[in-house]
Subunit: 207 residues, 2 copies
Amino acid sequence: MIKVIVVEDHPIMVEGLKNILLNDAGIEMKGDYGNGKSVLQALEKEQPDVILMDVNLPDISGVTLCMEIKKKYEDIRIIGLSIHDEQPVIHSMLQNGASGYVLKNALGTEIIRAIYAIMDGEEYLCSNTKEALKNADAELLKAIPRITRREKEILQLIGKGLTTMQIADQLFISTHTVESHRKNLMEKFGVNNTTTVVKLATEYKLL
Amino acid sequence: MIKVIVVEDHPIMVEGLKNILLNDAGIEMKGDYGNGKSVLQALEKEQPDVILMDVNLPDISGVTLCMEIKKKYEDIRIIGLSIHDEQPVIHSMLQNGASGYVLKNALGTEIIRAIYAIMDGEEYLCSNTKEALKNADAELLKAIPRITRREKEILQLIGKGLTTMQIADQLFISTHTVESHRKNLMEKFGVNNTTTVVKLATEYKLL
DNA sequence: TGTAAAACCCCTGTTTTCCGGTATTTTTTC
DNA sequence: GAAAAAATACCGGAAAACAGGGGTTTTACA
């Protein structure tokens, strides 16, 4: 029997997953948890083979939770579960130890298939996820620039409407330095004024 | 027996709803549909008492579907079902004939309660929806400013990264005029630089 | 572990934006 | 249909952002 637990904050969804899992003879559903904290607690006592994990939890991001669980219990396999088909989210889940990713519009059978697949050591992505990743390749070209911590900090302050001088004061650096970061941001985003940088950053949900 | 049908494109969710509804003796689940078209077809043959309807369907918006169903079959009561707690969506559902609104993070019991409540002629909102509407009131105050055609035109050009002079050239007006609009935009958005205006406009999806 | 790239920091002159006004035309609204 | 309000248009000086240069410290990786 494959021991499975569910981490998901939507009760209706939990109900649906329970139903799907219970209908399969080889799978045993060992419990469900509505947030990251409670799973981490539960794991201290007993570990399942597989965790079905919603990526959007109320208390902690799925990516972080995934990382933490894999750090402590590397044998547990994790399947990310989400309505989001955004390439960055999918990638960071997989990079942080998830073995599978299934979108919430998937069929119940895909969940079952995913569980068996990752127990066989495979990586499982549902068809819609694969589709999303394929489309994402095109978007990768006009990808989100890689931004440093400092740049992000300054970008956020600019987004708040602060002027270069105010930012300089707040970060205890010269206005020239701030302008330098500003310049680099424009460079990285491939535009020539901060306004457009902020627009793009907003669209990319960096702000 | 209250006849209920479900319109929802997430199979797992459907599974969960089915479970919840079947467990109640007074409710009869008459079927589920994954998109708007198929429900409309099904309704021609037989009408339920209540429709549980996801607001985000693949083929048609929940608001439109709600409106169409109420136009043809005014006795059917509709409960909107969504992950979104955004005030505009909730309001337009209710304005277009929905009798209830339940967020997907609600408990199964809330669904049941909602069905019975609207069958009693009440309007039912789940606790989280009420909360969202309350918070939305505060947001309504800092609502999207009313912008003139000309201002929008200029805002869009600013969003493209053009300078005042380039905009003036393109619209055959003086740079001073452009700056005047720029100033008014800042005024209306309640901020003091164009960058923040563009950020807000982007968030409001005005750009 | 050494070195190249990246991140971070600073400067000067030029361009652009911002802010205080004012004036004319078009919409609302009573 | 007249008054009020809003939209559009314009100015000049002050403030901020931008462009293009250079330097030091971390970080990544071969």
